[in-house]
């Protein structure tokens, strides 16, 4: 049985990197006595697959991983059992059963929604709503993306599905698939640059609001939260 687990990550937990979050949940499965399946072989490991790694420093309301379970009780019980062994800052939001044919969490990630706030004293000095409108009205948003080996020119525009300014924050909905995977800070850097500023270090407080999959087609995408693929049981 494939289960999808949604969790949030806040406070000091934002300093725990992706690999350590994976280790954390492996141990949590044991503490909560979840009947997780193991791979075969001499050193069996838990069958667990994470959706989209979250960068250190980011908080989230919508992180996901899938597990293979040998037996289950029900959604509410398993959620409670996991929450009983969580640390402050990590909360399990739901445990749902996936249909057999469902794609695994990592492969199904298509997009992510972020709220971007500003550190106190580091708020933008330009008018945010106008800047965002002008930014989104452009035909192309060219940036240089640093990769491990080289720099390459990239047009961000097709990867930004939605961007809007609130009084004290920015809502951003971007491609998070393995081919796109746009970091919100990259978009914000471009926005600042467009307005003649450099994005100061540590200015952004970013929260990933949710992670989405595409149930439509490439041409006509329908984005739904990863959670919605599973069902309560």
């Amino acid at each position: 049985m494939k289960l999808r687990i949604k969790f949030s990550k806040h406070g000091v937990m934002k300093f725990i990197g992706h690999l350590d979050v994976m280790r954390y949940f492996q141990k949590a499965m044991r503490r909560a006595d979840i009947d997780i399946a193991y791979s075969t072989g001499f050193s069996p490991h838990q069958i667990m697959s994470f959706a989209a790694p979250l960068g250190v420093g980011l908080e989230s309301n919508g992180e996901y991983f899938d597990i293979e379970a040998n037996s289950v009780t029900n959604s509410a019980d398993m959620t409670d059992r996991l929450n009983a062994v969580m640390v402050d800052g990590i909360h399990v939001e739901s445990v749902r059963m996936l249909p057999e044919e469902a794609e695994n969490a990592m492969a199904s990630v298509a997009a992510a929604k972020y709220t971007i706030r500003f550190s106190s004293g580091k708020e933008p000095t330009f008018a945010l709503p106008e800047a965002v409108n002008a930014f989104m009205a452009k035909n192309a948003i060219l940036v240089t993306k640093q990769t491990k080996k080289s720099e390459k020119e990239l047009d961000l525009k097709p990867y930004i599905y939605e961007m809007k300014a609130e009084p004290e924050s920015v809502q951003l909905f971007v491609d998070a698939s393995s081919s796109g995977n746009i970091k919100p800070s990259l978009v914000m850097e471009a926005l600042y640059k467009e307005n003649g500023f450099e994005l100061p270090e540590f200015a952004l407080q970013i929260t990933r609001e949710d992670t989405f999959t595409n149930t439509g087609t490439e041409e006509a995408p329908v984005f739904v939260p990863l959670e919605d693929i599973g069902n309560e049981f």
Binding site: V12, D20, F42, G57, D88
Partner: protein
């Protein structure tokens, strides 16, 4: 949620911020308005090392069971954060509350190895606690040391208010009660320390003074006030099955050195190797009841979620219920997919059988610690391991599929000759030959891989070798070269890889191990020059240390290579670790005579530890 002491900017800039944020599974947060005593427990090394230490977990758990006490943890900030804290004047803080260490009632520092001494000063300095105990006022914590290095606390005596000599489980309650009562009465720091010094096991350095002979040795060591004991007997748990054990140890977020459940099966060792300090300090051997251990294992695995469990003791093969315990663990862990790690097992039919069940033979290696290359020298050090036993064990293992062997030796042992050193290479070669003789060509999966490592012998207090002279750095390096050359001359040299330790740091460790109060200024000077994390080779600056010795006019040789007479008063003689100086002397003379002593179970050697009325001394024999 508790707000971190460090800003986001700092936490995102430094390596592994998880070292400093606390909040780990099973860490304890209490309401500070409801406790009387704030205790901060420190391991003076980086988080990943400190979090791997069982002793702190035991004390942390015990102190937090006291309703009136909140025990937190602190570790050495790594060099990146150290720099930032100094630049920005950020005081050192405890992990749980993220509040300054300076505001605590106690700062407990565990002393597990000598090379952490400058890190103690870093902890005090960053906490803004005066480095010298005598300069501390009423507004800073009582600094208390514990752990094996307190068995010669003198080189660091100036930095501590109290040393707790012996096992931590026994006297903390009493110490805290005295502290609370003194506070209630409006007593001073000095008042408290005076009362503390009268609690068994507590050594308060300020109430003692040392007089020296002209040659620099100790003439006398005496209390300066009434009621202060002249001898301090170590504290010890007599019933290890009925004492505190951390059933909910703290689980770190980041991978630490000991990332597993640790099950301490017994304390002490029956073997009596003459170089080994632990083998004397923790006498007599006390076993934990196997049923208690089974319960702990299940509870701890459940409470931590760790995927591995390891047995801990000085010599697990000597635990009398080992077969039963391992059978239980294998049964319990297999169904839960938990790994079992079995260190320090003697290689024999039983251990090979067990190891083949719990680990992948192709990936694991066999470990032998003959410590010396010849039978003669093994008799001197009382290491009851013969070449025959080693080769037989190796042959059995090779038949079982093992192809990797690790061998541990020491260079610079008392009476060592070039022949003994060459014996290291020859024994390595014989093991390789055993492989080629045992395993037919068609069954071989490549070559046998033998890794031979040598460390340098450092005489330690409370061992029969406390009278021994230590080699110089040049002698150590020469000995390592002889070993290297001898390895290269062996027929199977291509199957043997030889590693040796740094000599500089061994010499320093030798000074601290048998040092006296005159060494403290050198440690302070070296710290001022920037020495820190001396046990990390990339941060060890021998040149700075040599400058510090020079400037303080302290001789290294006085502590290392000097011949000590049998009646010399040692800096640690006022401590009583259970074994008598007479016994150690007898053992030293037997060593010079190349005579072995049987282990505690075979025949009592009258070491003196039976006065504690427990453990192996009172087992029924037969």
């Amino acid at each position: 949620m508790i707000k971190p002491a460090l800003s986001d900017e700092i936490l995102l800039k430094i390596e592994k911020p998880a070292r400093y944020i606390g909040n780990e599974v099973n860490s304890v947060v209490k309401d500070k308005s409801k406790v009387d005593i704030r205790f901060c427990m420190c391991f003076p090394d980086v988080y990943e090392i400190g979090m791997s230490h069982l002793g702190i977990q035991i004390i942390y758990d015990m102190l937090n069971r006291f309703e009136d006490t909140w025990c937190e943890r602190v570790y050495s900030p790594w060099v990146d954060l150290d720099k930032i804290m100094r630049e920005q004047n950020i005081p050192l803080f405890a992990l749980e509350s993220q509040e300054p260490v300076k505001d605590f009632d106690f700062l407990g520092i565990t002393l597990q190895y000598e090379m952490c001494y400058t890190n103690i000063l870093q902890i005090l300095d960053l906490s803004k606690i005066p480095l010298l105990a005598k300069e501390r006022g009423e507004d800073v914590p009582i600094v208390i040391g514990g752990g094996p290095c307190t068995y010669n606390p003198e080189p660091i005596a100036d930095f501590f208010d109290i040393f707790y000599i012996g096992e931590g489980e026994t006297q903390y309650r009493r110490l805290l009660d005295v502290y609370k009562e003194n506070k209630k009465q409006g007593g001073s720091r000095e008042d408290f320390l005076y009362q503390a010094a009268q609690i068994p096991g507590m050594y308060v350095p300020r109430f003692y003074e040392t007089a020296y002979n002209e040659d620099g040795t100790i003439a006398s060591f005496t209390p300066t006030r009434e009621q202060i004991p002249t001898t301090i007997v170590k504290e010890m748990v007599t019933d290890v099955s009925n004492t505190n054990y951390p059933e909910k140890p703290v689980v770190p977020f980041i991978k630490v050195t000991q990332d597993r459940v640790v099950l301490e099966i017994q304390r002490g060792c029956i073997r009596g190797c003459r170089f080994c300090q632990a083998g004397q300090l923790y006498r007599p051997v006390r076993e934990r009841d196997v049923e208690v251990l089974k319960r702990y294992a299940v509870e701890m695995l459940k409470n931590t979620g760790h995927e591995e469990i390891s047995l801990s003791s000085l010599s697990s093969s000597d635990y009398s219920q080992l077969e039963e315990l391992i059978a239980f663990l294998i049964d319990e862990c297999k169904q839960k997919n938990i790994n079992i790690s079995l260190p320090s097992l003697r290689i024999d039919a039983f251990s090979l059988d067990v190891m083949s069940k719990v680990q992948d033979v192709r990936k694991s290696s066999l470990t032998f610690a003959p410590e010396a290359g010849s039978q003669r020298l093994r008799d001197v050090i009382n290491k009851g391991l013969t070449e025959e036993v080693i080769l037989k064990g190796a042959a059995m293992a090779f038949e079982g599929g093992w192809t990797r062997v690790k061998l541990y030796f020491m260079l610079g042992l008392p009476t060592e000759t070039e022949e003994d050193i060459r014996g290291i290479a020859e024994l390595s070669n014989k093991i390789a030959k055993t492989f080629y003789d045992t395993v037919p060509k068609e069954k071989r999966n490549g070559k046998v891989q033998i890794v031979t490592s040598t460390s340098f012998f450092i005489p330690k207090p409370f061992t029969p070798f406390q009278w021994a002279t230590m080699s110089t750095k040049e002698e150590f390096i020469e000995k390592a070269h002889i070993t290297k050359k001898a390895v290269l001359e062996q027929l199977n040299q291509k199957s043997i890889k030889y590693n040796w330790h740094e000599a500089d740091v061994s010499v320093l460790e030798g000074v601290f191990a048998r040092g006296d109060r005159k060494v403290a200024p050198v440690i302070m000077k070296a710290y001022e020059k920037g020495c820190l994390f001396d046990s990390w080779s990339e941060y060890f600056h021998n040149d700075l240390w040599l400058e510090a010795f020079e400037e303080c006019q302290v001789s290294i040789d006085f502590y290392t290579t000097r011949e000590r007479s049998l009646d010399e008063i040692f800096p640690w003689d006022f401590l009583d670790c259970g074994v008598t100086k007479d016994f150690l002397k007898r053992e030293w003379l037997k060593a010079m005579d190349e005579t072995v002593s049987p282990n505690c179970r075979t025949q009592c050697q009258g070491c003196g530890a039976n006065r504690f009325g427990c453990g192996v001394c009172f087992e029924e024999r037969g």
